[in-house]
């Protein structure tokens, strides 16, 4: 039997520990949209049904009073406010409201149109935990946190495919999702995103593996099943359809066993379609955007992209303010941030890594499999394209949308870029460079938890 490599086990344990720490320290509902995600989880756990009935209230009676007692609504994005920490207030809530109905929510809310896979998973934690409202909230968070080690595994495996079994490079790649604070913060909240990051990282690995070493029936089935699971987790994952189709197309073209491979893919698609039909949520509300105002158009979209990417001022540069800040450290309802200096340091690290990875890629260009490159590029462009199109459409009705954490599904590729940059370091210095990188990410993570404590409890 094959053993799990010790460095991988250590990184997966680290990731779980950090995600659980965020799950424990983050006050109730002080993560993006957690009220809605928990309402979905609770309603599903209590009734087995999906929310969205316009005739029902959004939240259960228990949820309403627990959130009110904890001061959640007042604290959201309000740096002046703190969550409730009076023990007497807790006792008042326990005596008066702790046994209120849990199953009388189920109304429409911002997450009600989402697909159900992650909520069904988090509902297991909710059901297993028992206890009071906050025990069940924490349990649902911890079930979400369990996906972060899987994200780390995907990053490790992807680096193994791209660079071979070079453990230092795999450690560098897997350390990115394990240590970058936003992965642990988001994965440690009730949200579909933690599960989505994990499934994306496995799809990216399996896609590359299938392109490099062949598409077997088992790989075709698992790849389509993973894409289906990702789409049943969050509709952002429809961006995986085009890269997955590329893998299947190229794999079938190269395969000597076309019929079994195609059959396996069709079987997985059939299971996916059947499940989607069963739950009635094939497409999530997060891509069904009903913007009002100006009609979206190609010219308008081009103008939007120009404004987004072409710098007018270094103090107001959207890729920095949304992508960089939001993918590194923007907690709570994004109001918990460091001073700008830390983000400039992070930007320098990102530029170093991207520049190094680009140079390493250029140096080895004759050995790069073009289909693998196309698959990776398609995944990134499909994600970015979908995000920008949604952001553009919503911007027409002045609804803010874009956030840096939306880039995290390609965290495994961010890790691969870090590993690629590390290949440029001479072998004798590579261990030192790796330690420096780990120390930097760990320092940012510790500072992030300090920032959280200062924001909410001091």
């Amino acid at each position: 039997m094959r053993r799990v490599p010790a460095p991988l086990a250590a990184l997966m344990t680290t990731a779980l520990l950090l995600a659980v720490t965020w799950a424990a320290f983050t006050p109730a509902f002080q993560a993006p949209d957690e009220q809605s995600h928990f309402a979905y989880t609770q309603f599903f756990a209590e009734t087995g049904d999906l929310p969205g009935d316009p005739g029902k209230p959004i939240y259960s009676s228990e949820h309403i009073h627990a959130a009110q007692a904890a001061g959640s609504d007042y604290v959201m994005a309000q740096p002046f406010m703190r969550p409730e920490w009076s023990e007497r207030r807790l006792r008042v809530w326990q005596d008066g409201h702790a046994r209120e109905p849990r199953d009388d929510g189920g109304g429409p809310h911002s997450a009600a149109g989402y697909p159900p896979a992650s909520y069904a998973w988090e509902a297991i934690g909710y059901r297993l935990a028992g206890g009071d409202f906050f025990d069940r909230l924490t349990a649902a968070r911890i079930f979400s946190a369990l996906w972060l080690p899987v994200t780390v595994l995907g990053a490790w495996l992807l680096a193994g495919e791209l660079f071979g079994r070079r453990r230092e490079l795999q450690v560098a790649a897997a350390a990115v999702p394990a240590l970058l604070p936003m992965f642990a913060f988001v994965s440690g909240s009730v949200s579909p995103d933690g599960m989505m990051y994990a499934l994306w990282s496995l799809v990216l690995w399996l896609g590359v593996k299938a392109l490099r070493t062949g598409l077997t029936p088992a790989r075709a089935f698992v790849l389509v099943a993973l894409v289906g699971a990702a789409c049943l987790t969050k509709a952002t994952s429809y961006a995986l359809l085009a890269p997955a189709a590329l893998v299947l197309g190229v794999g079938l073209w190269r395969s000597s066993r076309r019929l079994p491979v195609a059959g396996a893919a069709v079987a997985a698609i059939a299971v996916w379609v059947a499940l989607a039909a069963l739950v009635g949520r094939a497409v999530g509300g997060d891509i069904v955007v009903s913007a009002t105002g100006t009609r979206p158009g190609v010219r308008g979209f081009g103008s939007y992209l120009w404004d987004f990417y072409v710098p007018r001022s270094l103090d107001d540069y959207p890729p920095f303010d949304t992508f960089l800040v939001g993918s590194w450290a923007a907690f709570g309802w994004l109001e918990v941030r460091f001073d700008r200096g830390l983000y400039l340091l992070a930007a320098a690290a990102v530029l170093l890594v991207l520049g190094g990875a680009g140079f390493a890629l250029w140096r080895t260009r004759s050995r790069v499999d073009p289909w693998t490159a196309a698959f990776v590029a398609l995944a990134v462009l499909a994600l970015l394209g979908g995000l920008h199109w949604t952001d553009y459409r919503l911007s027409l009705s002045e609804q803010p949308f874009m956030q840096g954490r939306y880039l995290l599904p390609v965290g495994a590729l961010m890790g691969a870029a870090a590993a690629g940059a590390l290949t440029l370091v001479p072998a004798v210095r590579r261990s030192t460079a790796l330690t420096a990188g780990l120390a930097f990410l760990f320092a940012v993570h510790v500072a992030s938890i300090g920032l959280l404590l200062d924001r909410f409890y001091a």
Binding site: R3, L8, W85, R167, V171, A175, G450, D454
Partner: protein, 210 residues
């Protein structure tokens, strides 16, 4: 591995210490965020907000509120006994009023008199009854109850973990344990990962997964 662990441990502890050097004087926030000017108080009027259930061990030495003008703050308990009183002075964008030393196991009210404008928010999710001259109003003030001297966050860590544990699963012990795991366990795991990654080309590791 020892050297890598030592580097990571020192970095982690140094950053944790630096993060925890921030000053804090906050005991409790009682009210709403300062979103808008909710009332212009005239001489002779009294605005009261309560009941405020102070956390166990809280000691309130000054009240900070988002306001302008010259105001007098009185802290009373639920039997109307005066526990503290003081006049406001400007501090940054806020007014602060030293009120002595208030520590009450009973619910308290904060009452404001004088002339000035006060900020707060509509009482949509409020657990307070705010009154103007005894009549209920539909807003809450932005009030912060503080100590007069600030302390470093690191010295306040026991209080911080007790606060985090109130509306949450687990007790303060859980936060202490997680803090220890973060500062000692994570560096150990990372050092182990980094060190083992440099030793992985030997035949003994050939049965590992990719």
């Amino acid at each position: 591995m020892r050297r890598t662990f030592a580097i990571l441990f020192v970095v982690g502890v140094a950053v944790a210490l630096a993060s925890l050097l921030r000053q804090t004087r906050l005991e409790y926030v009682a009210g709403a965020p300062p979103q808008l000017r909710v009332v212009d108080l005239r001489p002779g009027q009294q605005l009261c907000q309560g009941p405020i259930d102070l956390p166990e061990g809280a000691r309130v030495e000054r009240v900070s509120l988002r306001a302008t003008g010259a105001l007098t703050i009185t802290v009373r308990d639920d039997r109307d006994a005066v526990l503290g009183r003081g006049s406001t002075r400007a501090a940054g964008g806020d007014l602060i009023a030293p009120v002595g030393a208030v520590a009450s196991p009973r619910p308290v009210r904060v009452c404001v008199e004088g002339e000035g404008s006060l900020w707060g928010a509509p009482a949509t999710a409020s657990s307070f009854a705010t009154t103007l001259d005894g009549t209920d109003v539909i807003y809450d003030l932005a009030l912060r109850l503080e100590r007069s001297h600030s302390t470093r966050l690191i010295a306040a860590l026991p209080r911080v973990s007790a606060r985090a544990a109130v509306f949450n699963a687990g007790g303060p012990w859980l936060y202490a344990l997680l803090g220890l795991a973060l500062l000692a366990g994570v560096p150990a795991l990372l050092a182990y990962a980094a060190t083992r990654s440099t030793q992985s080309h030997s035949p003994e590791h050939s049965d590992e997964t990719s």
